[in-house]
Symmetry: C2
Subunit: 245 residues, 2 copies
DNA sequence: GCTGGAATATGTCCGACTAATAATCGAGTC
DNA sequence: GACTCGATTATTAGTCGGACATATTCCAGC
């Protein structure tokens, strides 16, 4: 009974895609907006028109728009229609928005910005983790590191272990805001890792960098942890940059 | 242009509250969830029941729930009902979620986490601003600073000028992700400023700290800007802490 | 230029139907 | 008799269509 997508001619993201209908619409519209298909200030078709064009009910369409509005992508006003908001009002760190940003060819400048933010946050997180980590935290990091070493970043399991490692560091900080933020960035960055893998035959072996971070955190050395993480992020950025620009 | 927060909240957030209806419901439910009135894992009343209890249509209620779901607060599944998600899945940095978190008595631990994040991000932003600021950026900062000096933080205009100053710094970094993030945190922090003002008769004069930051950015001295901003954030945290804990 | 009404698109409401699935119950087996 | 597994049922979110309300925009008329 899996969805077979019989006759959706691409233009109509109708039911059967697995997602709930309004979720699928939100995904479609969100991707289109983030990718620049609609420019800020543009007015979307009227609800009745658009929903008919998509072959969905107005209710479903409206719920999708509510989602976009909740993420700051659009704003609806009576009689004026729903318009795309300026990029400055988008919740760029929202996991969904980030995912939509990476559905197409991502903007290189935006990736640079994300890495810059990551280069700010992650070393600081590593420092806090070194100061506050428990034995359990260390154990999680260690197993993730082992898994990562075994599977390499070329596999899904390996990338998953990579995320686990970084998440364990965040968890050790005990700071919810930091965790949420960095998890979003981390997910986005992991999208880019796939780009690296596909276009570069010789990615750097990331294990030694990670081991340095782990050792510093285990030793409780905040300065060393911060520095090691800074190095790791810098190298990752360099790899990504050379595989795109 | 932007008038808001004009709320008359009775027991029933029914029509006529000024906000759009589903927005009012989302606000009410969101605040309740974030404040812990509903614990993670709790199941909300069924849609028909709850919407009737609120005297609103099921459609309006559903659109409100979509907003909450978009922010990671709840998840709906057929037959199982809609349940509050674990805190780790909340988009804590979403502007609305932050606002909801500060409608009631905010959690001190959470405020500490926010300041910790701010203490990481803002100094780094100040450094970038010092390296990249244009003359226009400096002009905006300067006028904001003057306004701030004149009105003091006790007035709305003064707090607004404070935000303008920090936003100008962010703008100068040219990093969208950084701007969005720090704007959210900044807004949240400005809520706490009100707490400071109401419970402390002798708040520190914040102008000298800000001037130090400005001078360093104007001079293009990244290290000094970072250090000055670190100091500013630390002092602000100390003030807030002493006025609450 | 100002005022007031008509046009129009979003906002809200209603009631019915669909679809998915948790919960229940029963057939079959050990 | 207890248990596993599979079909049935009941419940709840999801979707639909249409109606009416409300708020603006826009334009006509003064």
């Amino acid at each position: 009974m899996q969805d077979e997508a019989q006759d959706n001619e691409g233009e109509k993201p109708k039911r059967g895609t697995g997602r709930r209908l309004h979720g699928a619409i939100a995904h479609k519209l969100g991707s289109a907006i983030v990718s620049g298909e609609y420019a800020p200030g543009d007015k979307l078709e009227a609800e009745v028109t658009f929903s008919e064009a998509l072959n969905v009910s107005r209710s479903a369409y409206r719920e999708a728009v509510q989602v976009l509005a909740a993420k700051g992508l659009v704003e609806s006003r009576t009689k004026a229609g729903t318009r795309v908001l300026p990029r400055s009002r988008w919740n760029l760190l929202d996991p969904d928005v980030l995912a939509w940003a990476f559905t197409g060819e991502p903007d290189i400048e935006f990736i640079r910005n994300l890495f810059e933010l990551r280069a700010i946050v992650e070393p600081a997180a590593a420092r806090l983790a070194a100061e506050r980590r428990t034995k359990d935290d260390l154990k999680v990091m260690k197993t993730a590191l082992a898994e990562m070493r075994q599977k390499t970043l070329a596999t899904d399991a390996g990338r998953s272990a990579d995320r686990d490692f970084h998440n364990a560091i965040l968890q050790a900080t005990g700071n919810d805001a930091l965790i949420v933020l960095s998890a979003s960035i981390g997910a986005a960055v992991s999208w880019t890792t796939q780009f690296k893998q596909r276009s570069r035959t010789l990615p750097r072996n990331p294990i030694p960098d990670h081991v340095r971070v782990y050792d510093a955190i285990a030793a409780g050395d905040g300065d060393a942890a911060s520095e090691a993480m800074r190095l790791l992020v810098d190298l990752a950025l360099e790899d990504t940059r050379s595989s795109m620009g």
